[in-house]
Subunit: 205 residues, 2 copies
């Protein structure tokens, strides 16, 4: 853990390159982007890029891994409370949807460019996605066992609730009609309705 000025400058450049990669992938797609584009976006030479990142694919992988890890941490945090399942689901879906609205550019890249990853990286990302699904499935199962929820198929219910949030990346834009917080409030309500939760939170009107 040597935190010399040199290594922290290296970290800053590495992060700036990832930001530039996000912008370039969002604008031109993964395949339409060159490492030269990314280097230019970060204000470094193409050769300097390779000091920090092995390849364009590795940058996509890092963006995807960090994005998924952040989502997983967020929903794990959401289920760590000791509330009932209804309040927990409300919180988890609120955070999940608000995060996808806020981070729609990264979420879009992560979801749409997954096929560009190497098989090894793809399977690591798939494992993170399965973990996210599992947390949602377990939460819904707990709610069913506690008689708080009434669902026909736990796994499909979890998939549909996650889909509503994931697809925000396709259509959500900043400065539109809804803030990420408002999106979170509405989507939490949609999820509670889907699982047939009794209303326990604030009134809807």
């Amino acid at each position: 853990m040597t935190d010399t000025p040199d290594s922290s400058r290296g970290d800053a450049t590495r992060a700036r390159l990832l930001d530039a990669a996000v912008n370039a992938f969002a604008e031109k797609g993964f395949h339409g982007t060159t490492t030269r584009d990314i280097a230019a976006g970060a204000g470094v030479s193409p050769a300097a890029l390779y000091v920090h990142h092995r390849s364009k694919e590795e940058m996509l992988y890092l963006i995807s891994r960090d994005g998924h890890a952040e989502t997983l941490a967020l929903i794990n945090q959401g289920v760590a409370h000791t509330d009932g399942c209804t309040e927990t689901l409300r919180r988890v879906v609120h955070e999940f949807a608000a995060q996808h609205a806020r981070g729609h550019t990264i979420a879009r890249i992560i979801n749409y460019e997954v096929a560009a990853l190497t098989p090894e990286h793809m399977s690591e990302i798939a494992a993170l996605r399965r973990d996210i699904q599992s947390v949602m499935r377990r939460l819904i199962s707990r709610g069913v066992e506690a008689n708080e929820f009434d669902v026909m198929d736990v796994d499909l219910t979890a998939a549909a609730i996650l889909s509503m949030g994931i697809d925000l990346a396709r259509w959500y834009t900043e400065g539109g009609r809804w803030t990420p917080e408002q999106i979170g409030d509405h989507y939490a309500e949609f999820a509670l309705r889907i699982v047939g939760a009794e209303r326990t939170g604030p009134a809807r009107d």
Copy 2:
């Protein structure tokens, strides 16, 4: 309208090329696919491809236009009945979700490669998407006016219901646990719950 053997053979080749384009785009992505790949997939020479299609982009546009037009026709058909809004929403969401499960490969290409379209083509596709949204919004509004539905925000509710179906293209696979029909049944139920419809259809258990 001369329906000579020649022109119908031309149509067949044109359609075969589009099928080959779907397969190639699904496997390698739009940017990773060459017109040579598509021609080989359809069993014609690269030069013959250009007899039928101007460019790779135009093929993507045709796949996207036809896919969206089919979806729009499907949901327009769904709302053309004179049932109440609850049964209409059940039917429309069932068809929409089942179609996205059945046609998940095409749906995925259409949604994920939209950025590769020319601005003119993109705006034509965007208009079709707005039409699909409008049908869903009007149906939900009618249900609210008829006191069949209870929603806070018509437009966001429509977006969330469509998202559940659209995102099927990301994860649905043939031979998995649910048939497209079963997906349709469940997703219709999710939608009815989201809009707060009174239960009028077959019992859920």
